[in-house]
Symmetry: C2
Subunit: 338 residues, 2 copies
Amino acid sequence: MKNSISIKDISKQAGVSIATVSRIINKNGRYSEETEKRVMDIIKANNYVPNMVAKGLRTQKMKNVGIIVPDITNEFFMKLVYEIEKNLFKEGYETFLCNTDEDEEQERKRVHMMAMQNVCSLIYVSGGVSDLQDAIRDLPTVFIDRVPDEALGNYCTVESDNIQGGYLATKELLDCGCHNILLMTSRKKISGYVERFEGYVKALLREGLEAADIHVVYLEQLNYDAAYKEMVRMLDEGSFSYDGIFATSDWLAIGCYKALTERGYRIPQDVKLVGYDDISVTAFNGVPITTIHQQVDEMGARVVEQLLSIMRQEKVEQDVIKVPVYLVPRESTRGKTE
Amino acid sequence: MKNSISIKDISKQAGVSIATVSRIINKNGRYSEETEKRVMDIIKANNYVPNMVAKGLRTQKMKNVGIIVPDITNEFFMKLVYEIEKNLFKEGYETFLCNTDEDEEQERKRVHMMAMQNVCSLIYVSGGVSDLQDAIRDLPTVFIDRVPDEALGNYCTVESDNIQGGYLATKELLDCGCHNILLMTSRKKISGYVERFEGYVKALLREGLEAADIHVVYLEQLNYDAAYKEMVRMLDEGSFSYDGIFATSDWLAIGCYKALTERGYRIPQDVKLVGYDDISVTAFNGVPITTIHQQVDEMGARVVEQLLSIMRQEKVEQDVIKVPVYLVPRESTRGKTE
DNA sequence: GTGAAAGCGCTAACAG
DNA sequence: CTGTTAGCGCTTTCAC
């Protein structure tokens, strides 16, 4: 790689052995202050940068972690990655970013590549992690919005308090007088989404509603297009008769909004709508959309903190870290449905 | 790293030398079909994955490239990264993602880290690349939206036809009858932005306007907050007297929109507005915003294609690849200003 | 406090 | 067609 200078060159110039230079670089002690200074000066003068690849080969550990994200064009995920990258970089780690497009095959391939690159740990954002146990085993891993089914090696989960989130979202709709609330969520059993569902049910039941009042529509993909199409389908076949929708992510809410308004429904007068994540488009949307705010900065910080602690082999006290959420009320739930 | 099996283990099991295994893995020829089959079977059976770090140390080349982006939470950049990652991954490259927050210090640090990680090339999105010549030298680099001032080693630029973009945006405003058009852009001399400015001037002059009709406001940072604050400042001190604004990026346009509407200005009746990039928030915004569409998929594909060609030492015929843009007319320029 | 030497997993001459 | 060997740049015993 480039005409870069190595530890050997430094040692030669300094008139010491490479072992000594290595010790000095890593501050491992067992060298005199005098040699230290001499060597450090030469290092600076030559603008030496350590070769992490060689170091990685020797130590069997690269200082880089892989981040697997279902959709890197989604602002919510990237705000999370932003925080993670920032905190990880501070600790000297580089991050590989992998987009899976919510596709298990892609995911498998990419995790495989990560393994080849000897990443020292993995961060998994609400993904499938289907049959990856083998590849992941022994690799410190933090999951976001997803508690793996089987116990893996060293892992931990960080997520929002999704039950509370689902509860708050549904409660908001109920408080607006909605009686027929549709939940739109993912077909996949991602724990974060399952919990939002749980919160929805909890709010319904508390309000004295019954099992018959639970209405759910499942989506194959968690994105705008899928939500829009499903909504259009329901509207066109006349199977839509709700006065409130809780969409488990903001892009789903936007998809619903688009389909509804295109067909002449007014929001919030005819249908009230709540999203989840608090990405900026909900604030700027034609009718600003009420949503559940996830504290991405807090989440990102906790993810890195947990990851480091697992890597240091420290005992991780909690397997699941919960971060609080709060409701952001906007136009889409303004007014009272009677 | 993990209990992974090595080429040595494979060779032992197959009863051949490690050199032969290496040749087979890399399809370098000079082995019989028979041994190939035997070795491949063992590789599969043991679920062997090559150690890229060792390979990288030996060959002095890691198959991973660094991507430097000013703001990873911006959908435009990430759509670009999405395409780049996809295409690069197909070719067996992994990507490091670095966020600079438009901060030169951050940028320096991160490029430095990339060098330590022995990335085989760099992709630079509209960044500063101030005094990085040293670090970058000899590293194949593709710039997006930025033509470096000084000639570096092996580089190339991919960008939208920004002059045309600036022209189309301004032309749209002129066609709506605007006479007093403000350009909002970056203080930094990023070539992509300088060219949008050029297009703006070109449209103005063609329409018979003069130097006195050129009005520009420069921003220190290229984001929503900066645009919003600057707009508020102008509005509050009464120095705003325009009937049209061309904001050189969508988030700037959204910032202007917010400030203007908060103060009672109507868009498009009082002020017409055009953005740049075509990120989704412009389509969903209260008043959908006219913008210039950049073909990110095309750009991403060209970036990877150029990068690979530079790495293969092939002659790069053009130093600057231009990708066409087009106008997406929306509400914010509807109607005629008389 | 310092140095010699082994070796991480792999590739690439070179010899056969 | 196949094997032997010498490192890539670095860390880490183990002597001195």
